[in-house]
């Protein structure tokens, strides 16, 4: 219960601060009392799945699990029933807690097979599972405390701020980087559990004088298009994470929120999640960089042969620190694939420039190696997005029986024919990046957090 004692001792500094959603509001004091009382219901339980529709309800059950020393397994229904079922099958918790009609209900699962490893696991965070099978990253109390302490050090919010949390706590970046960090800092929290809508977010920002907001580049760039954000100059802290961001998108966001401190951060669930952050003062000069490692995190970038690369050279990013997960639940093979000698393989391709700043080039899995050339899909996508006609774009590799690896482009925008897209590619892209297959589409599929699905089948119109 070291984690709960840590959180509680920090919350006790701001007992009158509040956590709210819609018309419900509780003080930190009331939350502590609730968590300790509700934790009594969890005695004898090892793992508790949280499937609440309200994010505030999720946060309260989560803290109760921490208070009871029970492993918490947050699940978001936004990813659909089938994904929820897969998670329950993968982890097999003892109980599921829901908030049907505003009342907490505890469902005991008869044939639970959950087995805790030798170390106490505070949280199991399932990755979205783009390949189909979710992986449960096991995070210890030390992992969480370490990462929150590091985030608190740079994220300059305090008890005079109000944060709007609009994404599910199912995402580690939201749970650690927004919710727990705000509790520790004594920041007022307002949850929004509805579908993403920049206009509703705008109204909430205005009505509740929101000063801090975290989201993905896709969402923030849509918000940037709402001209009404001009009268929200009190929104001082914006944190961007979750996708590779191009310079054009970054510029649009910076222009729309000229008075805000913009933190471009990087992480992954397996690292609890935060790995690095770009200090806001450097955002205008290096908007597509994710900055420097956190205090407790070490980085290394290695080549295909495992050798450290030089400055500005691209390689695979590995991270090490007390924030790195214990392993994947019940999956020794996948754990040993990514955890080696205390180092976590992020699967991301990255470089460090001569100022020591980290830049993510893309997922190693997404890299297209065409005729020996390394092609980063995000580079193609970001270049094409510079054209005003392009609204969504996805580049990826495919294997052609005759020619080997080739580039496929899936694009949505104001084009009357594929030939127009071809001409755009010829004008903007170097020859080795020009796609051989182009699908002009109505829209691209997105997952529950608004990210484009990279592995979806797309057929042109």
């Amino acid at each position: 219960m070291r984690l709960w004692n840590y959180i509680k001792s920090k919350m006790e500094r701001n007992l009158l601060q509040t956590v709210s959603e819609n018309d419900t509001s509780l003080t930190f004091d009331e939350i502590i009392i609730f968590a300790e009382k509700f934790s009594e219901n969890l005695k004898g339980i090892k793992c508790c799945a949280i499937m609440c529709q309200s994010e505030m309800a999720t946060s309260m059950v989560l803290l109760s699990c921490f208070a009871a020393g029970v492993t918490a397994l947050p699940i978001s229904q936004r990813y659909g029933k089938s994904h929820c079922k897969k998670i329950l099958k993968t982890v097999s918790p003892d109980v599921v807690i829901t908030d049907q009609d505003g009342e907490f209900q505890i469902f005991h699962i008869k044939d639970s097979e959950y087995k805790e490893p030798k170390t106490h696991i505070a949280l199991i965070m399932c990755t979205s599972g783009t390949t189909g099978v979710p992986k449960g990253a096991m995070l210890t109390e030390t992992n969480i405390i370490t990462n929150v302490e590091d985030i608190v050090e740079y994220f300059n919010i305090d008890s005079s701020d109000t944060i709007l949390i609009s994404r599910p706590l199912y995402h580690c970046a939201v749970l650690t980087g927004e919710f727990l960090t705000s509790l520790i800092k004594g920041t007022k929290i307002r949850f929004y559990s509805g579908e993403f809508n920049p206009i509703i977010v705008y109204m909430m920002v205005k009505d509740y004088q929101i000063t801090a907001f975290c989201s993905t580049p896709t969402v923030l760039s849509l918000m940037a298009r709402c001209k009404r954000y001009k009268d929200t100059d009190f929104l001082k802290h914006i944190c961007i994470s979750g996708e590779c961001m191009g310079i054009e998108t970054a510029k649009k966001i910076a222009d729309a929120f000229p008075d805000a401190y913009i933190y471009h951060v990087y992480g992954l669930t397996e690292a609890c999640p935060r790995v690095s952050y770009l200090p806001p003062a450097k955002f205008n000069k290096y908007p597509d960089y994710v900055g420097v490692p956190l205090h407790s995190v070490s980085l290394k970038i290695v080549s295909e042969t495992g050798q450290p690369v030089r400055v500005n050279e691209i390689g695979t990013l590995w991270v090490k620190g007390d924030n790195v997960m214990f392993g994947y639940y019940n999956d020794a093979k996948k754990t040993s694939d990514v955890l080696q000698d205390g180092w976590l393989c992020t699967g991301d391709l990255a470089l460090i420039n001569d100022e020591g700043l980290l830049k993510i080039k893309g997922r190693r899995d997404d890299l297209i190696i065409k005729a020996g050339m390394n092609i980063y899909p995000q580079e193609i996508e970001n270049t094409l997005k510079e054209d005003f006609r392009v609204s969504e774009v996805l580049a990826r590799g495919y294997t052609d029986d005759r020619c080997g690896m080739q580039i496929e482009l899936n694009i949505v925008g104001d084009f009357s024919s594929v030939d127009e897209v071809k001409e755009l590619c010829r004008n903007l892209l170097p020859s080795y990046q020009i796609p051989t297959r182009i699908n002009l589409l109505d829209k691209l599929s997105k997952n529950g957090s608004g990210k484009i699905k990279r592995r979806q089948d797309y057929v042109g119109v």
């Binding site: 579908e195 206009i199 298009r225 709402c226 829209k443």
Partner: protein, 80 residues
């Protein structure tokens, strides 16, 4: 172009459907998901150069193509 034509153009670009009829429903007939519904309102504001009032900013209150046309007509004269 009149309001109706311009609204249909915006919707057509978003959903990829060429023949847009006034009675079509945005979410069922034209498959606009939540992100596209929001984008629709933003495009309406940009292309008609209007700022929608707060009571008109919930995209899910718009059901059909006609309801979008009616919304724009609340803000501007017919011919633009």
């Amino acid at each position: 172009m009149n309001i109706e034509g311009k609204v249909k153009d915006i919707i057509s670009e978003l959903c990829g459907e060429e023949n847009i009829e006034n009675s079509m429903t945005l979410q069922n007939d034209l498959s606009l998901d939540s992100l596209l519904m929001v984008t629709l309102l933003i495009e309406i504001e940009e292309k008609f150069e209007i700022t929608l009032g707060e009571s008109d900013m919930n995209p899910f209150e718009l059901t059909t193509v006609q309801s979008v046309i009616d919304l724009v007509k609340k803000y501007i004269d017919e011919e633009i």
